[in-house]
Structure formats: structure tokens, C-alpha cells
């Protein structure tokens, strides 16, 4: 299995055809998997935004105040509003806005990027990364994974993850297959699109020599059941439940403290 970055891609602008830009620069084989950083997909899809596009409501003002107090520096409520608009739900509001995006990905700040955006303040994630991947897949006639880098619970650092995919299943399912000893393997659904994204990120980097497209040549999916879920559904996701309850308890405690403060205030005026 070989990985190489596609060289010579221009700065991508709204309306550009990412599939065409890639096709012009690399001779693909049908089994190549093309890993495309969401940043150029978002740029082509016009997902640049300015902070002034977001009119902060009370929740955004509240979050910016809280995170700002924790960080010891003022935070922009317009940014908090952008995260709220890009999310179905905030699992936590502080110390980080842990957001469930409209397409099911859970990420700090809904994956909104504040660097690498010429002529704009922000770069939002694609609205539907699997649809984006499908469009590029149709042009290239090769499997496509749209990637991002993202932090995760329990482990430090970011790693590449898949946001969307087309032409390759999200996972391969080893259940029902046997180990060397003939024992049936346990729960072994392997999220190959995340592993492809992680592998690609070893080459792409984050800096100003950014190489947003990596070709994985020679990946063999093998004779396994395909599986197309990647984002856990809310039902039965107990880490999500725990975070919701933790956030709820925190807000309830704070509301109680605020009420007490108000009562105190009433006493002294």
C-alpha cells in the first residue's frame, strides 16, 4: 500500500470543481482511494463566512462570557453563534463547545476553522460531506474520503477522521469470521474510512505547505461485509448521555447560584 500527495493544487475558490482539479494532476487507478481535506471542499462550496454574518443571540452571548471567563480573555459571541448555527445540539457549552453537526459528526466548535481561510474569518464544514464525496467520486471514478482533523476524548492530540465518503464503505465487518484458533471474533467493525483519513494526515500536514489531497494506492477492502455507519446514533450512545447530564447539572447548579446571588443582591440594595 502506497500513499502520495497530489502536488500543485491551486488555492481553491468558490465554484471550483475539486474533482477536475485533482483529475488534471494525477493518473488514478480505479482502486485508488482519494482522501480530500474538507478545507478545499468547503472553499469550493463557498463555505467561507465572516463573523459579521452571525448575529449572536442570548445563548451565544452567555457561552462567550463563560468561556471567556475560563480562558481569561474575551471571546467573540459571533463565533459562538456560528457554532450554534452549524449544530443540531451542543453537548457541552464549556470549557469547549462540543457540537453535533447537522450531519452527525461530533466535534469541538462544529469543526469551524479560523485559519487557512483567505479573505474570510471562518471556514465552515461542508453541509453534507458524503454528498461532496459523491460528487468528486463521480468525476474521478475512484473512492473518495472527505477528511478533517479532530481531537477526541481520553487521548491528546488530533488525528485525521472521515467526514464523508463515497465509493468505499465506511467500515468492514469481521463479525462471524474466526481467529487462528477457530474462535469467533468479537465486535470488530473496523472504521476503514477513519483509518484512511488518519493515514493521509501523516502526509498532508496543517501548515502553509498544506497538501490537501492524498492518494492511497493498493488498499484492499477484502472479503468482508460492508458497513456504512460511522457516526453513532444518539440512542444508546452513553458517553453522549453522560455529557448531556453533566452539562445539565452544571447549568442547574449555576442557575441555583444565580438565584441565590439575586436574592443576596435584593438584601443589600
Amino acid at each position: 500500500m502506497e500513499l502520495f500527495a497530489v502536488e500543485g493544487l491551486p488555492e481553491v475558490r468558490p465554484g471550483d470543481d475539486v474533482g477536475e482539479l485533482i483529475a488534471e494532476r494525477v493518473d488514478l487507478r480505479p482502486d485508488d482511494v482519494v482522501c480530500v481535506s474538507h478545507s478545499i471542499v468547503s472553499k469550493a462550496e463557498g463555505r467561507q463566512a465572516d463573523l459579521d454574518d452571525f448575529d449572536p443571540g442570548p445563548q451565544a452571548e452567555h457561552i462567550a462570557d463563560r468561556i471567556g471567563a475560563l480562558a481569561g480573555e474575551a471571546k467573540d459571541p459571533r463565533f459562538a453563534q456560528a457554532v450554534i448555527d452549524e449544530s443540531d445540539e451542543l453537548l457541552t457549552e464549556e470549557p469547549l463547545m462540543l457540537a453535533v453537526t447537522h450531519f452527525g459528526h461530533i466535534s469541538v466548535n462544529a469543526g469551524i476553522d479560523r485559519s487557512n481561510v483567505p479573505d474570510a474569518d471562518l471556514l465552515l464544514l461542508p453541509e453534507d460531506p458524503s454528498a461532496s464525496a459523491e460528487g468528486i467520486h463521480e468525476t474521478l471514478d475512484a473512492p473518495v474520503v472527505v477528511t478533517d482533523t479532530s481531537g477526541r476524548p481520553f487521548r491528546q492530540g488530533q488525528r485525521g477522521v472521515a467526514l464523508g465518503w463515497a465509493g468505499v464503505p465506511a467500515a468492514r465487518d469481521w463479525r462471524g469470521e474466526s481467529d487462528r484458533d477457530g474462535r469467533e471474533l468479537g465486535v470488530t467493525v473496523e472504521a476503514v474510512v477513519d483509518e484512511l483519513a488518519a493515514a493521509a494526515n501523516l502526509l498532508t500536514g496543517e501548515g502553509d505547505d498544506g497538501l490537501p489531497v492524498v492518494v492511497v494506492r493498493g488498499f484492499d477492502f477484502g472479503d468482508h461485509e460492508p458497513h456504512d455507519g460511522l457516526f453513532r446514533s444518539p440512542e444508546g450512545d452513553y458517553v453522549r448521555d453522560a455529557l448531556r447530564e453533566w452539562e445539565y447539572d452544571k447549568q442547574r447548579l449555576r442557575a441555583g447560584a444565580d438565584d441565590a446571588d439575586d436574592a443576596d443582591g435584593g438584601d443589600t440594595t
Copy 2:
């Protein structure tokens, strides 16, 4: 960058020298990263165990009862005791035993494997995977990552992760570097050992044709600050805090319900 599996490794037995077994089968270059599945490391280190080695205490009996009731089938309290023994702490006891291993890795069932273990019931993780990696690194004179596959919050499926590493830093730190537009990059510590493990897992598989060693050739760490933390420390890990509180609330509720049941029982006898 190229990845290939090392062919022809024998079934590894206690006392085998994993570094020697690899060195005999591949000509390594100094910048090759050798990703070694923990399974052969554990086997060489004699980490096979039988369920009868574990004498279940009250916590293990309780956990097996609870998980068994949820699963609708009896669970072995000896297995629960093995997980407890291999852990500093259980963040949750049900529906899954989410364990913090003695070396800081957080994994369901403390990563104990019930398949792929000839002549034993269980395979425990290495006691100190970075020390294991260091030993193999000294033999091979090339960077080594000891890997496992593991599930994760929010996303379905397993992916390769690093348990230990030597000769390569856990992460590279892009902070202070600039994007194309000259803006400073945000929090961008990239956990390269996890990405290397994920890439290797695309080749290794889980089944009876298991290939436990993958060489990554041509990975360029680049000119970045190295960073050697991979497992979050408990301080400030708010997902861990939330899970602890969730588990605590659940147990307290249940204790309350049990007291009520006892009281009812007292009334009717």
C-alpha cells in the same frame, strides 16, 4: 510513503524475542516505523491468562450480574475481575466496563482479548507497552509503535491506536507555525503514533490471516516540536469527569432503589 506487512511470522510464544523475529524477516531502514500489534508482544511477554486465575470479588460479581441482566445472558464474574485487576479505575461499569489501564490507556474491558489466544482464555495488554516498544526498538534500531484496535466515543467501529512507542515522539506540534495566509495555527498537536497505528491496521486485519507487523516506510516527521503525551491526564479531562459523575449518579439511584426494595421486603415478611 509505503506500507507493507512482514510475512511469515510464526505463532509467538512466551519468551520469544519479537525484535529478533522481525529482524530475521525484513531489511529495515533507519527511518522505517515498525508497527507491532500488541497481540504478539503480549504473547511473548507471557500475558496469556485463564479465567480461573481470577477470583471474583463482590464488585466483579455485581458487574457481571448487571451486564448479564442488560445483555440477557450470564456474564462471567472472573472476566470482570480480570478487567478490575488490569485497571486503575473503571469509569463506567455498565453497559460496558470502560477501564483506565495502569499505563493510562482508556479502553473497554481494559483491552483484554478473548480471541486469538491459543491454549489460554485471555490475552492481557502488555504491562508497559512503551517499555515493550523500547526493547524492540533497541533490537531493530528503528522507531517502533505497539498497536491495538479500540472503539471510541461518538463514532462507530474500531480503529488502530498506539499503546506504546519508542524512537518516534507520540505527536508533532504545529503550534506557532503559520497557515498560508500567515495566521497562526490553532491547537494542532497531531498524534502521529495513533495515525501510524491506524494506517497499519488497514493492512493487518483481525482474522486468522492476521499480519501483526507492518512497516511504514518514508514517513517524514518533519521539522516540528515533538510532544510525548498521548493519554490525557485525569486533571481537566472533562469527558472522564462526566462519565464518573454519570456512573456515580446511576449507582446512587440504584442504591436508593435497593434500599426502597429492602424496606418493602421488610414490610411484607
